[in-house]
Symmetry: C2
Subunit: 426 residues, 2 copies
């Protein structure tokens, strides 16, 4: 029977889960896959964890060097997160011919290409199913399940915290801050939730997914990112009246053969679309391929056990000594489109003084920018003499809508910064 | 560059699709995966296809023996369907060390174990992603993506024809036959649709999925199968009034550690469940694992291009010389539960004479069988003096409900055979 010696670095919630489940299932894996997964070294910078987790001093260390310099170790599982020293751990492990499993989306989003180059140069292997969407096997599906296809678009709800907050606001009409508070109480939001609610966590994951789907590594700076912290219950309500739901979507799609759009922002979609039914902390990824057409993958995007499942499936894969499919796609994508150049539909809410001629002024400016309007509704008055006016546009260029709204917001009839939200017909 | 010589047997819609897409993408695959997929032999019993498809006489044959006895061929793609001579083709190819790709669900449902044994004995490989759910990578996900987990239950909408018919009946209130006619017109139902609408196609696929999920090969005779041909618009309407939707579900779930339930039947589920939103010809598989919890896979379950995508992804997998994960799970399942012993919730519609005391008689018989009732509603009269009475039960044993309804249907107050439909709380 083959024996795999594992070095596990990082004993947070996920690391402890790997430790526990691997020892629980060691027998099962022997029987099922004819391989013995042996935890050879465990590392965490907190020395107290050794006693707390009842680990032998031979196995436990506080120095990651003792793991990555250990010649007996075949697979390093990196679960400390962040860029440093995680990058060092990953690169040095790959350099010494070890296989690496990581759940580190921030690191991959930044350094995917250089990491893959080091792996390729050393004929070592890296796996990262757990970095995106927890237990959903989306990486394997894109890389292997759809290996014969070309992807046209990929649209995901890939941040559970944001989706929980939006679902709660939609279901109960509460404010963003009330929903965030509840998310924190229930352990669905971190104490500092800004990575999640500002959209950057989604952007990290989208960078990884877009690479697998389109063969292009898109850096953070080339991804348009907008979070959910400015979404108000008012817009959720007006959206519902239009049969629409607001979701934080991560979108990567080809505008044509070699131009890609990559963006994360709150988006209005039809309440009939399957993505609209993805509630709470769940994640989902919608993929459209030339051959497969529409596919949806849905599941728990985070949490200890789903993430452990992803890590262990990578481990089992590695034990089967597959040659990795070469991740260096000779991608066709030559260009990432800027948000100013992307055509999209929009929802706009103006807060205007309730008097005749207001709409004429606004639509005059929009017309000059060639912004074509699909519908206009004047809503019930909010406060003395201020009424919300909700507009849906047809497809318009990002730059045009931006410049038009800057101009409109300078008018005296506008009493509050105009709200603008992307809209997608999926 | 590695060259793979392919023998393609069966030139129906899928076979022609493989031929076309493989030649279109040959260059792309060379560049992307560094492998040359060469169609060495093409076989169909219809000799006219050679000219029609413009195939060279060197490549085309009407005799499958010329494919499977050809030593140059590495991979045989079997796409003729049915048991004979497909089984012969598959077994003899595996016996001679060739790899086999098949989409033949009927064959696999019947002979999966013996086929796998032959493959294992000869160290040859068999792949069958296309046999279930077209372009959805469900086989790979169960086999590899969830390799570390144990599955508790698997529930699928895995027959597009039936789902189209039920969706149409639900959306438009039309009859089964009207919906079937429309399905035939639009090419979603075959001329003889009985395999689909009677549930046997779903049972074939369920047999394959259950093997992957639970390591137990369940034969057709051990699967309870009921089709959709007796579903009436009346029950769809009453179900909706209860917030329920009727779907043809294929269900495999563990009752406990080593007992499995495997069944296909129309089922009432909550309209809020994600499976209820799977409309038209789409397929979906809902999986619940100990670690991953809920997962859903959704997509086109049939059609030329999605199926070709599945076949070609198998081909690319094989070209990467992965060792196959041994499919012989040392399964824990010792027993398949009979429908009589399965506990389930039910929807029951009685057609009774509209007079006092009727309900007392019915509920008396149900009570004696210990069938606990969750709700009773008397509906508007249908015809002179006949009223529908709709009951929802709590969990009851199959045998109890069967025997009770046999007894009730003999009563003079019952004017039509009682309708009974399974109900699941997912």
């Amino acid at each position: 029977m083959k024996k795999i010696n594992i070095g596990l670095i990082g004993l947070g919630v996920i690391g402890r889960g790997v430790l526990r489940i691997l020892s629980q299932k060691r027998k099962f894996f022997k029987k099922r896959y004819n391989v013995d997964f042996n935890i050879a070294k465990v590392c965490d910078k907190n020395p107290k964890l050794r006693k707390k987790l009842n680990l032998s001093p031979k196995i436990f260390t506080t120095k990651f060097q003792e793991v990555i310099n250990n010649d007996n170790i075949n697979v390093v599982i990196e679960l400390i997160g962040g860029i440093n020293p995680a990058r060092d751990i990953v690169l040095r492990s790959l350099n010494s011919g070890k296989s690496v499993i990581t759940a580190n989306k921030a690191l991959l989003a930044q350094d995917l290409l250089s990491i893959l180059k080091v792996a390729s140069r050393n004929k070592s292997r890296i796996r990262f199913e757990a970095s995106v969407c927890g237990g959903i096997p989306i990486i394997k599906s894109l890389r292997e399940g759809l290996s014969a296809d070309r992807i046209d678009s990929l649209i995901g709800i890939i941040n559970g915290t944001s989706n929980y907050i939006l679902s709660k606001m939609t279901g109960e009409g509460c404010s963003f801050f009330e929903a965030l508070l509840e998310a924190k109480k229930r352990g669905f939001a971190e104490r500092n939730p800004s990575l999640d609610i500002k959209g950057f966590d989604s952007a990290h994951k989208l960078s990884i997914l877009a690479f697998l789907a389109f063969g292009k590594h898109v850096l953070q700076k080339d991804i348009f990112v907008k979070g959910i912290d400015e979404i108000s219950p008012l817009d959720i309500k007006y959206a519902r009246e239009l049969g629409l739901v607001i979701k934080l979507l991560a979108i990567a799609k080809k505008s044509n053969k070699n131009v890609l759009e990559v963006r994360v922002h709150p988006t209005l979609i039809s309440e009939d679309h399957l993505l609209a039914s993805v509630g709470g902390v769940f994640n989902a990824v919608y993929v459209k391929g030339e051959l497969v057409d529409d596919l949806l993958f849905f599941g728990k995007g985070a949490g200890q056990l789903p993430t452990v499942s992803a890590i262990l499936s990578d481990l089992i894969d590695l034990s089967y000594e597959k040659k990795s499919i070469d991740l260096f796609q000779k991608g066709l994508i030559k260009k990432i489109k800027k948000i100013d150049d992307i055509r999209s539909k929009y929802y706009i809410r103006f807060m205007v003084i309730d008097k005749p001629g207001v709409l004429a002024k606004i639509s005059g400016i929009l017309a000059r920018r060639k912004i074509s309007i699909a519908s206009v509704t004047q809503k019930e008055r909010q406060r003395a003499k201020i009424v919300p006016v909700v507009m849906l546009t047809h497809d318009v260029r990002g730059r045009d809508i931006r410049v038009a709204l800057e101009e409109i917001d300078r008018l005296a009839i506008i009493k509050k910064k105009t709200v603008v939200i992307h809209r997608e017909e999926l």
